[in-house]
Amino acid sequence: MPFAPLLRSFMLCCLVVLSALALAATQAQAQAQTPAAMPAQGERLAAGLERFKADSFADTEAAVAAIAAAGSAQGVAILSALADRRLFAGAAGVFYRDAAGQAFDALTGQPATIPADAAMVRLNNRLRNVVQAALGTMTLLSPDPAQRVRAAEAVFRSRDASALVTIEAALTSEQNPRVRRAFEEARAAILLASADAPEELLIAAARRIAEAGDNDAISLLRQFAGQTTGGLKAVIDQGIVSIEQAQRIRAWGQTLWFGISLGSVLLLAAIGLAITFGVMGVINMAHGEMVMIGAYVTFVVQELFRNHAPHLLDWSLPLAIPLAFITAGLVGIAIERGVIRFLYGRPLETLLATFGISLVLQQAIRTWFGPTNREVSAPSYMAGSFEFVGLQITYGRLWIVVFTLCVFAALLLVLKATPLGLQMRAVTQNRRMASAMGIRTRFVDAMTFGLGSGIAGVAGVALSQIDNVSPNLGQSYIIDSFMVVVFGGVGNLWGTLVAAFTLGIANKLLEPFAGAVLGKIIILVLLILFIQKRPRGLFALKGRAVEQ
């Protein structure tokens, strides 16, 4: 049996040597042809470019094929420009901009100005794939390793057999392990797609792809599972099974992560309420609107940056955090001074008054900013995702989790380690005694409410990244926030933390089985039942202060 792998590697070696020889031959041929080929190349390029002017998808496709075949120097630049919507065609010719915005004539490659009548060459999704495939084949030998990986991935998708020779040649000298892996996978994909390859090679290719183990790999294997027989089919099926198994395990981790991420959103929304409701006992139905104000502050800050300092746009979010805190905090203080202070000791009346305030704030935002959603874009460091032990983790969500924990820690610090925090706790525990000790209780009330509202505003900054920035933003979080605080136990920040993550994870665990709506309903019913069992939540405050 040890003979088989030996044979396989021997075969592979042969193939590699053969293709290296072939490559060398074609290169030699190309060099030999160079002087004569130049005009032909230019003609082919010109003919290709001509077809861009037709503004029809079929012509554009032909143009792409012609340019890819022409192999001229600016081919890559032209096709990259086409993919990035930077290629323009008009009566006077075809032009492109490079990534920096500099305009060139596509035919000559010389700097030029784009005439006014030139229109952008349009693509559809199918053509985008065609362009990517062509670009992949053309850029396999790019000096930039990241570009080479992208090219290999494009070839993996297109399985363009003509790229095989280039890949084989490149593999002989490629040192970068990431690029090597990508090349090997691309080669395996091409081999698997070419039905006439010897079975040993196909099996090796299938194994190679099964090792990759990701979504694209299983997709590829499933595609060929039906068309094959015998040993190859067994290998492919086995590969599919093993990837599926790994995916099932990963799915649990993924669900857990989704739960943590949902939990952190819940925590972020509820944490301000844990102060106003939990610590002060004020039922603030306008809490959601504080979140909304924070989100709108983010929008305004971003808009200012976009109009005045677009290159600093990535900084708009960090800057929006303190501004949102201050704005929402001030609004909160105004509400406390204007309305709530007259209603201490009458929680139910407070509830009604703050609900009224929430309606007014919503409609005020609707009047000022209009009823439609406002755009808050994601800074570059929050866009996209990465893989971590096979889990797909989006940067946006990760930042929100980290940010939530920071806010939580900061809040604990304020409450436990600052004079203001001390005074807040004193006032909430025994107002009259605190007053007798010289604490300005009214000032502390206003500050506490301001702190809670400010934190809600900060939550708004984060939520603007995953939800609508609209006048309805606050409403969608208010009930969930109350559930979190009540579930965790009023007056206990750690309880809120535990409750938020418990609810988040439970929700995500239920979702695959029960669906999003039913899952939420089940959680609500369980919550109602839980509160019957423990009327004061998970972590109840003990002592006489509770009985009011």
Partner: protein, 429 residues
Amino acid sequence: MGFTRRGVLSAALGGATALATGYRPAFAQGAPIKVGILHSLSGTMAISETTLKDVMLMLIEQQNAKGGLLGRKLEPVVVDPASNWPLFAEKARELISKEKVSSVFGCWTSVSRKSVLPVFKELNNILFYPVQYEGEESERNVFYTGAAPNQQAIPAVDYLMSKDGGEAKRWVLAGTDYVYPRTTNKILEAYLISKGVAPADIMINYTPFGHSDWQTIVSDIKKFGSAGKKTAVVSTINGDANVPFYKELGNQGIKATDIPVVAFSVGEEELAGIDTKPLLGHLAAWNYFQSVKDPANDAFIKAWKAYKKSDKAVTNDPMEAHVIGFNMWVKAVEKVGTVDIDKVIDALPGITAPNLTGGVSTMLANHHITKPVLIGEVRADGQFDVVWKTSGLVPGDAWTDHLPGSKDLEADWVTLKCGNYNTVLKKCG
């Protein structure tokens, strides 16, 4: 009691207005013709409906500048049903019986239309409904200027199955859990199966209104798409839920070139609230896009931007539907020379009005209109590039041919005088 007094007061006021207008040379004769506008200005639906109210005000202003209608001035009556469905019925009643309007332009959600339907039937008035909807309805008093499923959903799926659309073989039908997505998906499912798609290759998913946590569903879609067949998503996700959905799609790296999403409820207005960079290439199917180059459209956009005093103001499909509906109503009134409800209802079928994409739409006997179907691709500036278009106009079909319950039904208010004529039993209703 207060009402009678208010009634007297408003009558007196109305008289005063009539007297005042009597002095105006442009509108020499008669009291103004009242037009009701029934769109939510507060509450959750204000996000979509407020602009429709503004469009109507603009159209009425333009018509008055042209000398009004039948020599009389048009007077808009704006009410705010506040996204509250019973309030829609109450306000409809108020518009018709108290304000005595000659027609009403309004509603967005299906439920609001269902809520006002009995009122329009009872008090006999005209409603122009401008939004794409699930079909399965044809009423004498309602004119549907938005798309029926065969004017949006089915052409979109046809496109995705075509070579240019990527020859999709596997389908995710994702929608918000209410009647429009439910019905549309039912129709699409039947249609796809009739085209040879295996039931295992169709995944249907429903989420509540305002759903904001899309992590699980987007990752499910991704997994569903890894079966080695080209996969496409048909989204009937409504309103607020779209923004978090698209954000999650972008973040989880689902590119339009891998799994394209075609949406039926995402237009220019909705895109204004989204960072579109990660969405390039995703699709929407409508009967109108702001980016369509056409003289009528250019004029409309210019007028709209001037009316809103904002260069950023966008136009969208339901706005165009109101433009068509309003022009058809004006033509019908001019044709019969009166605003008498029955006469206008009878005159409307057959009336034509240019749409804003270069064609001429006709009001059909089933009270739906003919429309072109366009597929647009999301652009970086929040607009759409038209990538595909039906060759002619598609007539709206009230009862779909793809569901067992409704394929035998037919609506014809001209010859059959019936909204649900059963062609098998040969009787109405």
